[in-house]
Amino acid sequence: MNFKQLFIIIRREFLNRVRKKSFLWITLLSPILTAGFLAFAIYLGISGSPNYNVLIHAENQDMLDYLQSAKLANNEKLKIKFFYSTEFVAIDTLKNSPYNVEMSIDPELLLNAQSTPNRSAVVVPLYFTEKISAFAESYIRTELEAKFERLKVQYFELRKNGESMHLEDFDQLKVKLQFDPIEAQSGEHEQVKKERLWVGLFLSFLIYLFIFMYGTHVMRGVLEEKTNRIVELIISSVEPFTLMLGKILGIALVALTQFALWLGLSGGLYFLFQYLLIPSVSEIALQQMQVLDAPQMTTALAQQVSQNGLNWQSILAENRTLDLIFNRFNYGLVLAVFLFYFLGGYLLYAAIFAAIAAAVDAEADTQQFVVPVSMPLIFALLLAQFSLYNTDSFASVFASIFPLTSPVVMMMRIQSGIDSTQLWQLWLSMFSLVVAFLFATWGAAKIYRRGILQYGTKISWKTLFSWLRT
């Protein structure tokens, strides 16, 4: 190998890219923008949260007195205020009370927390009428844990009567709480909702991935026709708009075909899993459970199975993940919404990508346009993750309606369940996506028509906007 030549080539390749203004801008702006986005997303995740008036109920007056004297600290930033009462507000009337979160503390349960096997957390039901963000939930839990630990220290000191404490005593002092948030009206456990949200996040990511993947296909396709110079021959027979739209829709069909195949395969696997694999696997599992003296519920299942034979529903009831996959999903709705947002998002972004490809001469030149155009989509994915903690924050609601982010964010929100009062948001989001797609296609067609036969001209944002106006 001639290293001198190698060096010359490396130098050219390096300088060619580094000297570009776009390289400088992207290098300087990327870290700033990423940090900014992150901070903004976190801020928005918190900022939209409501006031939490948390009522702590305990039948035991001493416990209540202690909690009051220990002063669970209210948090202004998270807008959390604690209230105490020996009277439990009936769950169905919680909505009409001054409180929107309620929990009941059983002192015995706390003090005996150390007897729980493997130090697993003490589960405390947390009723709410206003959805609790993850930040708020975490704050309340930490506050309570700290105060209970202090209480326990006092209790132990009393019991040990001045003797020094041992390490095992410390283990007994630690309190680990776990809330089980329950929606006061419907009685639905938030945990279930959260599991659905993870699925929502997965689907959001899938939409993000597909929009990029198939959008890039469109961009490459347009660029291929332009650089191969076949495009002039084609547009002497068809309208440029027809050619662009044909390409976008053709690739959309590729995507849908892929989906259909995946669905077919998944359906096959679903069937296989449900009727062929699960019975044999669970039989073995049941045998093992019986040997290991499994918890009561599983034994009950084993009895049921031995009485009635293997029952699919009973297996589902026992397995959370399977239950989530097979029972808790309205597949029709999820699929319809997924298809709508995928198609809407894809069509919107594909039109923009097609316009970019038509305007430039080579793939390397697309970068300066693709990076800023992709930002909302990347931001949407980031926001979708924060929406996990607060799906109803202002940012989540806005991003689920704003068409450049809605395909990713709404997919996430829809999993948390949109109630009838929020249904307008879904309709508005869908409507704005359709309008945005039409507008983007109109603009893209203008740029496409002007750009597709333009060679050797350096295209800037200014040029693109001037083409839009003409």
Partner: protein
């Protein structure tokens, strides 16, 4: 008249590419569209193909305002041409045929005919990446004529062809003209244009600087100079020298060249020579080649 172009004007961001062009293109002829790079030829062709819109002016196609409905009657071989590299030859032809409204069967029939005519049998299933440049050019030519158009616009049709293929394509263009098709030919190959075209228009910096029938243009831009091939050229010189209408005499072997003051004087010159028993084997008007007229007009 097949195409009537009236006061056509095209601008690109303040720069005028075509200044109020008038052109009249008759039926069943080969019309040469000439001009140096940047003269406005491609803009004019793209306007004819309705790829670009003019700022002003009008084009009539057989007396009707040019519209999309006329596109199926037009075939186009652009200067900047290409093919889908991963598609097979026949697939490309069928695809373009379908875009132009041909049924699969018709397109296949046309493809068979043209591939055979251009000596490309057996190449149907080859991918474009496997073709030589000349072969790819032939496929592009097929794509232009596939739908049997009445007007064929060929932008630099001979570029990239070896002499044999160029001659084959030239023969096909002449055959199409013989069938009554109109061919608009844009080329820098002046010899081909002079040989093939019946009419010609020369554009320069967006202006039409010349147009008309090829023979008229050549004659109007040439001196009145003749070449005689004689049995004995040396005997002719003294006779020609005595004639008032003759000047600038030159000899080369058995050929003699001279200028005349007017074309009508040729008869009396020939009579004088015949009267002196000079045997004339041939007589030919010497015309300035189109290449030189092109240079004269575009160096202004």
């Amino acid at each position: 008249m097949l195409l009537d172009i009236q006061q056509l004007q095209k601008q690109y961001q303040g720069r005028t590419a075509l200044h109020a062009i008038d052109l009249h293109i008759p039926k069943a002829c080969i019309f040469g569209l000439l001009g140096p790079n940047g003269a406005g030829k491609t803009s004019l062709i793209r306007i004819l193909m309705q790829i670009l819109k003019p700022e002003s002016g009008e084009i009539l196609f057989q007396g009707e305002k040019l519209a999309k409905k006329h596109l199926p009657k037009m075939g186009y071989l652009p200067e900047e041409r290409g093919l889908y590299p991963k598609m097979k030859v026949l697939e490309q032809i069928l695809y373009l045929g379908a875009l132009r409204g041909l049924s699969n069967q018709e397109a296949k029939k046309q493809a068979d005919f043209w591939l055979e005519t251009l000596q490309m049998q057996g190449w149907e299933q080859k991918k474009v990446t496997e073709l030589s440049k000349g072969m790819a050019q032939k496929v592009q030519f097929v794509l232009a004529v596939l739908h049997n158009p009445d007007v064929l616009i060929l932008d630099e049709p001979f570029s990239g062809f070896d002499p044999n293929t160029a001659s084959l394509v030239r023969a096909q263009i002449l055959a199409l003209k013989a069938q009554g098709k109109t061919i608009i030919l844009s080329s820098h190959n002046m010899d081909s244009v002079q040989e093939m075209c019946d009419y010609v228009a020369l554009l320069h910096q967006g202006n039409k600087v010349l147009d008309g029938a090829m023979q008229d243009i050549l004659e109007n831009h040439s001196e009145i100079r003749y070449k005689l091939v004689l049995a004995h050229a040396e005997n002719a010189r003294p006779i020609l020298t005595k004639l008032d209408s003759v000047s600038n005499i030159a000899e080369q072997g058995n050929q003699i060249f001279f200028n005349l003051t007017e074309t009508h004087a040729l008869n009396s010159v020939l009579q004088s020579l015949i009267g002196q028993n000079i045997s004339i084997l041939s007589c030919q008007r010497m015309l300035t080649p189109l290449r030189e007229i092109f240079i004269q007009k575009t160096q202004l």
